[in-house]
Structures are given as C-alpha cells and as structure tokens.
Symmetry: C2
Subunit: 395 residues, 2 copies
C-alpha cells in the first residue's frame, strides 16, 4: 500500500460493525477538528441513494463540514423515507458525539441496493468509530470502504504551498459497477490546505472529469457514487484561489492524486488481470474521440480478447464502427503499445502477431487508435474481463 498519512487536523477510524458477514470492516469515520471547506461530485444516476440526496444538501451549507461517516455492505438505495431517516440518523448520531450539527456531516453508503439499513448495528458502530478515532486511523478507514475490492486504496502527497507544508490524502473504493460517469465508487480527498470553496468545487469537478470519469470497469453506473473533498485549512496558508501563485501546483497535485486513485480502482476491477489504456486521436472532435474510446473500453468482446491475450483488432474496428463517433474505415490506424497492427483499416502488412501477444501479456498496455479525421483526442482507462468477473457477480 502506498503512503497514507492524514493531513493535520484529521482523524479517522474503521471498524467491523456487523453489517458485512465474517467480521469484515464495514464502517469508517473521518473527522476534521475544525469545520472544513467542502466540495463534492455525485453520481448522475437518476436513482440516487439516500445518503447522496443528503450529501447534496450538506455540500451546499455554509457552516463547514466536520465529518464523513460511511458504511459498506448496504447501499441504502431504493429504501424510501425510511432510508432518508436512517441517513439523517447516522448524521445526527455522529454530529452529537463531535459537537457538530447534522448538516455538517457527509454520509456515504455502498453495497446492496434495496435493503433497509441495519440501524441496530450502525448506531452502536458509530459509538465505536468515535472511540477509535486517531490520526493514524486512515488505514482502517480505507479497509472499511472496501466491497469487492481486493486491496484498500489510498495515497498521500505532500507539497509546499505559500511556504507551508500541505498534505493531500485520498481514500477510494471500486470495484465493480464502474463506468466512466463515475459509478460505484467512493473517494474522499482530505487536505489541510486552506482553499476557497468555489475554487475547490471547480477543481474537484475538473479533476473528476479527467480522472474518475475516465475509468470504466463494466459500464454500469451506480446509485451511490460520490467524490467528497474536505479542506480544513490547518496548514495555515493564505487562502488558495484561482489567483494564487500556487493554484496550479495545488490543482495538479489534486488531479495527479485522483488519477492515481482512479488507476488503483481500474487495476483492482472485479476479476481484472490487466489495465488497458485506450487512447484515441484524430477524432472529428474530442467528444467523438471519447465515444470511440468508450465503445472499445466497454465492449465485452474486447475485454475478453485482452484477457485471452488475443490481438483481435477486428473487435476494435467493430466497436468504433458502432460507436457514435464518425469513423472512416479506411483511415483507421491501430497500434498496441508500439506494435502497429492496423493501417488504413486493414491488417498492417508487416504486423508481428508475436510482438502484439507480448504486449497483451503485460499487466498494463495502451491501445492507440488514430481515426485520422481531425484533432479530437480522448483517453479511457479500463481493464479486461475474465470468468472471475462473472463468478463475483452471480453471487
């Protein structure tokens, strides 16, 4: 696991409250000593889980956020008024204990849809979480976020802003139901930097678009996805705005951290054995390049071909052909890492299948697609699909 240190003024904990079987950790709490500037990006699914509806309000309020309380094992989605009540209860119980208002508490849930929250386990769970809060609790919190994830996902980057040391820490979970537009995925970004709220919201939105919204595991978007950022200002730097000298350093750090977390999610995609980067250039527009890249990334026939190490580029031609991108068959070039396989829409005369199989045998490779129509570009990060994906999801 990569370095995980909470920024100054943050504490965390993660415990097994009994929501998940086998005593697996299933609740986490992150608390900021002082009210933090918050920003958030949520699922675009029309069916939104109760905690998402709650958090949409929390991020709007002025008082500053104090905590994120979360559980795995139950999504608290499609649970009606009872679900909304349970979310509010989680916020209230947490707020009480840390002397905050309920509207300062973000709530996140992930897991099965449609089952009532087992509040008889959640409520005592919150007590335990409070008791276990610690500046070193990040690791436990990251573990409690996991559902079908095989590894916890977290990362800390340290920079200097306005002459002050600043930490940016991210914790995330995948790992199925991952689609470009940010599907079942939670990510919490914590920093002790002092950041203006509007700037933080715009930075989070922009960085989400180039990171979490660029990954795809199975094309399914969830009801619960949330990326939440808390900036508590403990680093005591001059408040960061677009005009700050260090703004671009801060933004690039945020984006880089989020990209690394996104890569961790793809690498740990359900049943995945390799990470595949789809780079499309030469699209009629960026949007069209994106359509082509996503069609390739989400095609089961491509995902299974990669799993089988088969340089079956015909399935790529097929996918871009039915995508919404404009495609002119006889202009398409396809290259696996540095091995050209398709030129002008046909098998490259000097293509080496052996070299292509070598590329496909790697844990990570890039498929370069040039549509040769314009200047549109896009990149999507995805993974292969093995029998293991099916085994996980028939359960």
């Amino acid at each position: 696991m990569k370095k995980l240190i909470l920024p100054n003024g943050f504490m965390a904990s993660g415990i097994a409250a009994g929501i998940k079987p086998k005593k697996k950790k299933d609740m986490a709490l992150i608390v900021s000593e002082t009210p933090a500037v918050s920003a958030a990006v949520f699922t675009t699914n029309q069916v939104k889980a109760a905690p998402v509806k709650w958090d949409i309000q929390v991020v709007e309020q002025k008082a500053g956020a104090r905590a994120i309380v979360m559980n795995s094992g139950n999504a608290n989605a499609c649970t009606g008024l009872r679900g909304s009540g349970d979310t509010a209860t989680m916020a209230m119980r947490t707020a009480e204990k840390i002397h905050a208002k309920p509207e300062q508490i973000f709530v996140c849930s992930t897991g099965t849809i449609g089952k009532p929250m087992p509040m008889e386990k959640v409520s005592p769970g919150i007590e335990t979480l409070i008791a276990k809060l610690s500046p070193d609790g990040g690791k436990n919190a990251a573990e409690a976020m996991m559902t079908t994830d095989l590894v916890p996902k977290s990362l800390t980057v340290e920079i200097e802003i306005d002459g002050k040391p600043v930490r940016v820490t991210g914790l995330a979970k995948g790992s199925g139901m991952i689609e470009p537009n940010m599907a079942t995925m939670l990510a919490f970004i914590l920093t002790d930097a002092n950041v203006e709220k509007h700037a933080l919201q715009c930075a989070l939105r922009a960085a989400t678009d180039t990171t979490f919204n660029r990954i795809s595991v199975d094309g399914d978007q969830s009801t619960n996805d949330s990326v939440i950022a808390l900036a508590n200002g403990m680093a005591d730097n001059e408040v960061l705005t677009y005009q700050s000298e260090d703004w671009s350093l801060f933004f690039q750090t945020l984006e880089k951290l989020m990209l690394e977390l996104a890569m961790m999610i793809v690498r740990d995609g359900e049943g995945a054995t390799k990470m595949v980067t789809i780079k499309v250039i030469g699209g009629a527009s960026n949007g069209e390049a994106d359509e082509a890249a996503r069609a390739v990334a989400n095609s089961m026939l491509n995902k299974t071909a990669w799993a089988g190490k088969r340089p079956n580029w015909g399935r790529i031609m097929d996918a871009i052909g039915y995508s919404h991108a404009q495609v002119q068959e006889d202009r398409v070039d396809i290259t696996y890492d540095d091995v050209p396989l398709v030129r002008g829409g046909m098998a490259y005369a000097e293509a080496s299948v052996e070299d292509a199989v070598k590329v496909l045998s790697k844990d990570e490779f890039t498929i370069h697609i040039n549509l040769n129509l314009g200047c549109g570009e896009a990149v999507v990060y995805t993974c292969d699909c093995t029998e293991q994906y099916v085994r996980i999801n028939v359960e």
Copy 2:
C-alpha cells in the same frame, strides 16, 4: 430442430470447405430456380464487411436475385479492396455455374474480422456447393451458417394465400456480438409467394424492427449482419401488395417466423442458460421505454444476477436510473413473471424472495417494469451471462 422444408423452386447445400478447422461445415448456397424478388436489412455499423457493401448493390438491382452464397469462419471485414474482389469473385463463380449474372448473387460472410478470405478453399467450395444443391439441402445450409452457435436455426411455416399453398422458410445464425440493432447475425427468409418488391422490403424492415432488433446478447454490433428475403413467386398467387386481402396474413407469418428465429438466437446466446424478456410499460414514450429496457438487458450486473438466480432488483433500478429514459424512482414497479418485488421504487412489503428465486430458476421468464409515467412500451429479449461467455470469447 423445427420443421425445415424449402419453398418450391429453392435448392440448398452446405459443406465443409476447410475455412473452419475440424472439417466443420462452413459454406452454404441457396439457389432459386427463377429470379426472385429480394429485400434486405443490413448492419448499421459504420465498418461494413465487403459482402455487405456488395449486397447493398444487389438488393437494388431489377433483374431479380438468384442465389445467396455464404461462408462462416471468416468475416471478410476490414480487408480493403482485396476483400471486395474476393466477394465479387464468390458472386461471379456462383453466377457462372447457375447461368445468372454476378449482380443477382447475394454474398454473406461471418467469422473473424481482418483476415483475407482463403479463396483457394472458397472457390473449389463453390463447385462442391453447386454439385450438392438439393431441395432437401436446407439442413446442411443451416449447419454451415453456424459459428459459435450450438444448434442450427431454421423454421418453415405453411399458409394459403390467394387459394395457393405458400411456404415461408427462415434460416438464421447467432450467437455472440448480438445487440439490438441487429448485430452478428445472418438470416435468410425464403418464400415461394409472389410479392411486390417494395412491399417485401417494407415488410422485412418492419418485421426486423419488432424481432431481430429486439434481441440482445452482449451489446456488440457486428460488421456483417444481414437479413435477406427472397420471394420467387413459384406459388403462383396474385402478386401480394399492401392492398391484397391476404397481405396481413403474409406479414404476420413473416413476423412470427422472424420472431421465432430471433428467440432461437437468444436462447442459444453464447454461454446463455436462460432467456429473459424485459417488458417496460409506463414510459414517457415508446422510445424511453426502449432505452430503459435495453439498459437492463445489456447490464452485465443484471445478466450475471440472472445466471446466479439472484432476485437482485437493485441492479434493475440502477440500470433504468442511468438509462436515457426519464425515471421517477418512487413510481417504479418491478415484477418477475407474476411475483411482485418492487412497488413505488422500494422492496414490496409482501415480496416472496422464495417465489422470485423459483421464477429465476426457470429457463425463460419475464421481468415487467412499470415506470408509471406515461403510455410508452417496449420489449427486449435477452439472456443471462455465465462464465462460459467469457470462456468462449477469450479464445
């Protein structure tokens, strides 16, 4: 296998020409004694195989079609000018032998994309196909159409039109890369009815929309899909037009036959163990109901849940939520066959999971989704996804 009798004036053959390994049948020929009125519907993929480009011309010509020559094992797609030449050669060789013009010959190919056609096998194959032509050759032709299909797919319906006995016979292949808009799939509809060309084309298009375009195996559309109809008029009925008394009988027969072939394709979907019908009502429009139905049908999480016999309706709520259909969460009702599981977007209080598992244990069942927003309706036929699908496609 269901009854298969070729209509009067048709002969067929199917042989192993050596394109596929293991001496599997891989070429088929269907010949009409007399020039037949033809109609066709082709893939909407922008990347079209050489034979599709050829057939688009054939269906436009006035002289009447005489034959369909087809091969499995090689798609002749992404093969450039050489591919076009090979298709023309297949048509010319066939035409020569049956005293027809090349433009009277439909050519179909299905199989791997991007490899040159092994013409040294195809050309002698055509000679053998000609030699083996027989009024009883339909079965062999249906077998030669198979790729990953486990069973050949064909059906004959006999009706009386204008007092004359008429046969309508269909032959089809699936079974992966099947998406609504008619993906890797070939279907040949043969009839001895006498039908006006424009009426036949409109009937075929309309019937394709309600049959082959309603099925989905894996959401991938192919470069080669073709539905081709030949009507040779040997039944000697008065020419059928929209105005004919028997028009609706003919159209309904065609549609019913095509629906049965479509169902055969879904039941034989790669790795499928069950056929699932998704019926959406109450959509804001038919188009929106269709979007919702397709999102559910194409979701890997739903397909795997069905394979695992899990009444995981949360995945259905999730899929309709991210579909392009307007959805109001608290209005959605979901029923598995006659077992209600969701009412008003939440678990139905008296839902019987046991009964739902019984439904999911059947080979075929229907998921009824009521969006309760308007009068829009749609139906999509799909199948589950098992590890076997992945095993087939990593090869």
